[in-house]
Each structure stands twice: as C-alpha cells, then as structure tokens.
Symmetry: C2
Subunit: 450 residues, 2 copies
Amino acid sequence: MPFEITNEYIQQIQQLIAEDNEDALLTLLEEVHYADIAEIIEEIEYSEAIYIIKLLESDVTSEIIAELDEDTRENILKGLSSKEIAEELSELDTDDAADIISELSDKQIKEVISHIEDEEHAKDIIELLRYDEDTAGGLMAKELVKVNENWNVLTCVKEMRAQAEEVSRVHSIYVVDDNNILKGRLSLKDLLTTSTKTAIKDVFIKKVDSVTVNDDAEDVAKIMQKYDLEAIPVVDELGRLVGRITIDDIVDVIKEEAEKDYQMAAGISQDVEADDTIWELTKARLPWLILALFGGFVSVSILGGFATAMIKYKELFFFTPLIAAMAGNVGVQSSAIILQGLANDSLKGSWWKRLIKEVSLSLLNGFVLAALLMSAGMFFLGFDIKVGLTVAISLVSVIIIASIIGTFVPIILDKRGIDPALATGPFITTSNDICGILIYFWIAKLILGF
Amino acid sequence: MPFEITNEYIQQIQQLIAEDNEDALLTLLEEVHYADIAEIIEEIEYSEAIYIIKLLESDVTSEIIAELDEDTRENILKGLSSKEIAEELSELDTDDAADIISELSDKQIKEVISHIEDEEHAKDIIELLRYDEDTAGGLMAKELVKVNENWNVLTCVKEMRAQAEEVSRVHSIYVVDDNNILKGRLSLKDLLTTSTKTAIKDVFIKKVDSVTVNDDAEDVAKIMQKYDLEAIPVVDELGRLVGRITIDDIVDVIKEEAEKDYQMAAGISQDVEADDTIWELTKARLPWLILALFGGFVSVSILGGFATAMIKYKELFFFTPLIAAMAGNVGVQSSAIILQGLANDSLKGSWWKRLIKEVSLSLLNGFVLAALLMSAGMFFLGFDIKVGLTVAISLVSVIIIASIIGTFVPIILDKRGIDPALATGPFITTSNDICGILIYFWIAKLILGF
C-alpha cells in the first residue's frame, strides 16, 4: 500500500521539469501524498524543487514544506518571497506555521506576518512564537472546537460546524464558561448519541485533563501516554483555554527524546544525522572523544606507576584491556537499565535494596566470568595459577565496582536535577576503565606483592 | 494537573482495606483514573490488590488490568476465576482483551472464552489470537465504524449510532461494499458538515491508506507517522476490512522499538527492567559479557605476541587501554549514527561517498586528538618523541579503521536482512578493541622495529 519512490519515478519527474511540461507533472503528482512529495523534494536538485513548489497549489505545498527536513526547508524558503511564504503559512495549522516561521530571521518574520491575510491566524501564530519549543505552549495549536456551557446543543452544533471547517481533526469539543475558563468536554461520541435539545450544562463531562502552557513537553507526553489521550487542552495560568496538543505532536516528542538518549549513550552530543556535514558531525563527536582521550591519559599514568611490576609479571599488562573492557561493558549495562527506569518512573524500593541487588548480580555474573577466565587461561593461554587467580579476583571486584558506579551515578545526577543520560556512554566507559585498571593493579600488588 | 500518588495516599488505602471499609474506598477511588489505580496496585500487597479488583466495577477493573505490568497482571489473574477474567475481558476492546488472554495457558484460554457472554466479542478475540503480535493483525482491534457504500447518509447515521456505542473512539468511518471490501472512508468532519440526504456513494473519499494483516508492526508505525494518521484500517489478503489500528498502539510500538535499540546498544539482549529478578537480568546481560571476555582473550594473546617489545618500549603497553578505548568510542559513535539513518530510511548516496566522508571525518578528529596526545605526552608524561609519534600515528589509523567498521558493519548486516542493532554496543566495542590493539602494535613494530 505505501507509495514507493523509485529512481525511475524521480527521473520521470526531473524529465518533465526539464521539458517544462506542467500539465503532465500536475497529473503525475495529483495522486501523491504530500509526505511522499516531500521525500521527492529531498532527492532532486534545488531548482527542480522550487519549480515543483511554485507549480503546486499552496494547500499541498504548505504541507510539503512542513514535512521537509529543517535544512532543506531553510533552502526552499530562501527561494520564496515573504508573500509566498505567508501564503503557505496561511494554509497550515498555527502550530506548524509557528514552527516554520520561528526558523526565519526576526526581520523576515515581521514581513511574512504582515502578508498573512487572515488577521486572526496571524495573531495566533505570533502568540505561539512566545513559547519555548520544549513546553506545552510550544507544542500546542490554536485550532480547536469549543462551546460555551451556557449554550444549548442546537446552538452548539451550529457553532461547531463553523469551527470544524477550520480544524482539520476534531478530537474533543471543549466546554468553557463566559470567561473562557476550561470547564470540561463533550465527546464526539456523545454528540452522535445525544438528542439535540439538551442543554450543554447538563451533558458535558466535568472532568477533563489539561496541561498549562509552561509545562514541560516531556511531561505532557507522559500524561498523554499514561491516560491514553489523543488530544489534551492547554490552559494559561488563569485556567483559560488557549490551545490543544494532539497525539501526533507527542509521537514526535517521544521519538526525539528516544533519539537523544540513544545518541547520548553513543557519545554524540547533538542531534546529527549521517548526512550532516563533517563539521557538524565533528562538533557532536569530538568533545566525547577528547574526554575519552584524557581518561586514557589517566590510565597511562596508572600503568606507568606500576611499571616495576613489568619485570616479574608482564602477563598482568596483557590483561589490562580485558579488565578495562569488562568494566566499561558492565557499567554501560547497569546505567542503561537505571536510565530506562528513571525515564519510566518505574524505580521502586530503597537505595539499600538496590545496592544489595547490584552486588548480588555482579557476584553471580562475576563468578561465571572468572571461572571461564581461569579455565581458558590455564588450559589455552597457560599462565601460572597465581597470576590467573589475581586476574580472576580483580575481574569480580571490577565488575562489582563498575555496576555500582553505573547504577548510582545516574541516580545521583537525577536527584541533583542533572540529565542522567549524561552519565551513559563515554562518561561511564571512561571512568570505569580508569577505576577498573586501578583496582586491578591494587589487587595484583596485594596478592603478588611487587 | 496530573494526579500524584503519595505514600500517604497509599497508606490511607491500605488502612481502609484493613478496616474492610468498602464505602470509604469506593468514594476515595471514584474520582481516580484507572491508570492511576493501576499504579497504586503495583505498589500495594497482593491480597490488597485482589481486594480492590474485586471491589470495583468491571468496567474500571478491566482497564486497570490492561494497564498493569505483565508480571503483576499474571499474579492478579491467578487470583481470579475464569468467569471473573471473562467478565473483565468483556469490558475491553478486542485488541486489549486478546493481548491479555494470550498470556494465559491454552486450557485457561478455552475456559475464559467459554464464559464470555457476547458471542461476537468472543469470536473476535479468538480471531485476533491467530496473529503474530508483531504484525498489523496483532495490533488491530475489531471495533470500528463501517458503512456500506450503497446506503444513504440517513441509514448510515442510524447504523453508526448503534456501532458507535461499541467503539470507544471514532476516528474514521470506513466505507465497504457488499463483500466487505474496503472502498474508502468518510471523515467525521464531513459528517458534521454534510446534509443527511446525500448518498454515501457520492460523498465518500475513495482514497484510503490501509495495511494488510501480516504487515510488520514497525512498518505500520512508519506509515502512520509519515502520513500523520490517527487510525488505519487493516484488510486481509482479499482486501476485506477486518480491523483498525489506532495511534495509541503505535506509540507503544515506537517506545518499545526505541527501548530495544537502546538496550541492544548497551549490551542487554532482552527486555528487562531494573526491578526484574537477578536471574532475568543475568540472562539478559551475561551473554554480552561473555562475548566481551572472549574478545579480551584475543587482546591478551595479541599483547602476549608482542611481549619481546616490552623490554625496550614498555610505554607502548601503557597506551593499550587508551588506544582500545578510543577505537571503541569511535566505533560506537559511527554505528549509532548509521543505525539511526537506517531506522529512518534517511541514508542516501553511494558507499563510496560514505567511505570518503568517514575517512575525512576520522582524519579531522584523529589529527586533533593526535595533536592533543602528542603535546600532553611530551610536556606532562615526558615520553620520547619516537614513542609519541608511534602512538599518535596509531591513534589516527585506529580511528579511521574503527569508524569504517562502525559504519559498514551495520550497513552490511542490514543488506543481509540481519538486525543491524546487533552490531552496536559490546559487539562493535569488542571487535574495535581487538582491531585497535592489533593495528597499534603493527604500526609500532614498523616504526620502532622490534
């Protein structure tokens, strides 16, 4: 069922553009969804993209522009006049229009706004520009269907028909009082099944979940997921209904959040994609690599401090990468599990219980790994029992310490209001590398006595 | 606005249960959302949970049970008879009911089904049990509003009112022909704004996206996101309308997918949570640690093979953890970026271009890091220029190779139909550790000639 964009299809479009065959292009693209045309735009040349945008009607091109990657959109908008941009924005819901216009310069924003013919629409967009993009205000749209509690169902249906023309998707009908204070909601289902003569006051549902304009976008996502909401009304500090957020915007929030956490864990500090420039990729990657390099210096110094042991026990040095790798892996596992628990608010029980659990888990894993190490080491690598025992004991200790660090560093960061995702990836790996090597050589010194 | 579950609140509930004060409990819980009661159930004792489930009406408890963690639900269901479970399932939409019943034993499934009074509902649940949970069929519900293209709007509205009673959320009205073949849809908005005398044939939208029962759940999620759909109809192989999937189920698919990728990257092979048993956590974590251990053995052997170099160049061995760590970090960064590109279908351009880009990026990052290493090494650690140069050249080479491995292993796995997420985390770190150490000593041997 989904439309497949083939190379032949794109070549056909490019051919038609080259021939300036407007009719054939319009016929070809007529049946294509705007999301697919947006994908085509990403694939073709800039001049071809502008040709298509100028060719199609603004009710389609506005959706295409909203769908594009930020970089591509920036380019396309440069090819349009302020008046043309205003026409596109007039077709869009206020939330999408505000998102796009916020990418322009202050000067151009003013120009574009002045060209939007519907004053109400322009006013709504300006209002939305006030809010931080990571808040409920930044996510909401002004388009909604609301009725006054003092109306009867008949007036209500009439008013709603007019409002529904403006709203692409009707989720709920919100009920307000004369001061625009949110009082409750009417469901569409009720509307289908209630007699038209009833008074709104008598039928509306008085309980309605809502969020406030300054609420955090992530919290809004959690509430909508928990209560399985497809739309939620947004009120200002005084309880007045100012907008509504729909689930499709929340899907984007959830995806972005997941991608951010994933990138953090992989040591990428900014939202980058494989097709970004080398410079953008370097900015996102290099800081973490420098951190790892300095961590590496610390391990060099530690090893240097134990240089005298090299004469008698050179095998010890062969095992440092193994010990460091195990410490890193265990730490990343522990921190990942805790981070997901923190994200889902599902961590229960006291610190003590968690500590005992982590230590038991590490002992179990540690003994299995140490036993494997000892047997493989003795049979295949043939090192002496004292060194083998040293490495095995160190391995168990390192695993315990690494899992404690991996578990509690995110918890402590979270308690202090710092994003615990910072503690994953390179940060945990590097600090556990260092701790692991230090513990290893301490234990070796104790047992072997160099 | 969201309800906060405090310890005092839970104690109050436990107190009322101990006093067997049903009326006070009912009053207390009356205003509480089922999702919140589900959270309370997770916090209290088993006997208390059963008390609450048996106390409340089944229209609430069914939603509570659907909301619970799988482990908690399993326990609660053990405390209920087959007849009681059937009552709960009768209240739920077919998709939720099928998900819950599929967790029971085959024998109990039969018993529970035989107690469901609404035969149609029971038949629908049995039908849904046929589908794999990771397919469109596994996600869909049977509840939907459909009308025949041969009706007029009047019949349609009448029929819809009856159907809407059964459907908790009306997203779209699907239009079918006499053979139940999906022909198109009617939007609710159209319903609000169209005269009731029109014939359905003349007003319905002939274009409707749909998926087939065996389509992959992830693909359904991608389609619904791309086309901004809140619900999508599901058809069988013959094009007959058999169900519909709503966006809230897709939100769960997206979240689970993101969590799975995150856990893979952290070296956790099963869906586990911080509060799972030590045994479950070990099963998820130990396999990756064993992989890392065997990788460690390989690096031990490599270092052992260069043991003779230790006499003259012991500093070389101090740098092995640093080189291994850098290789691991670079590999994880590269693979994470590629994996996200693969997941979003946003990778463009040829392999050649990508290779050139990765090498340029690595050269840039590598030179910065090598310069830092050289200056820090010479000024603070005071090692000789020949060793410093060896380490620096190795570092740049290792970064190049690690980023190439990190980039192309996921791409190759993906081409071969293997989940590329396998290639992140411990797998990439371990193989890059080994490659890194090998390259490092080869280059050292070339330059220093031991």
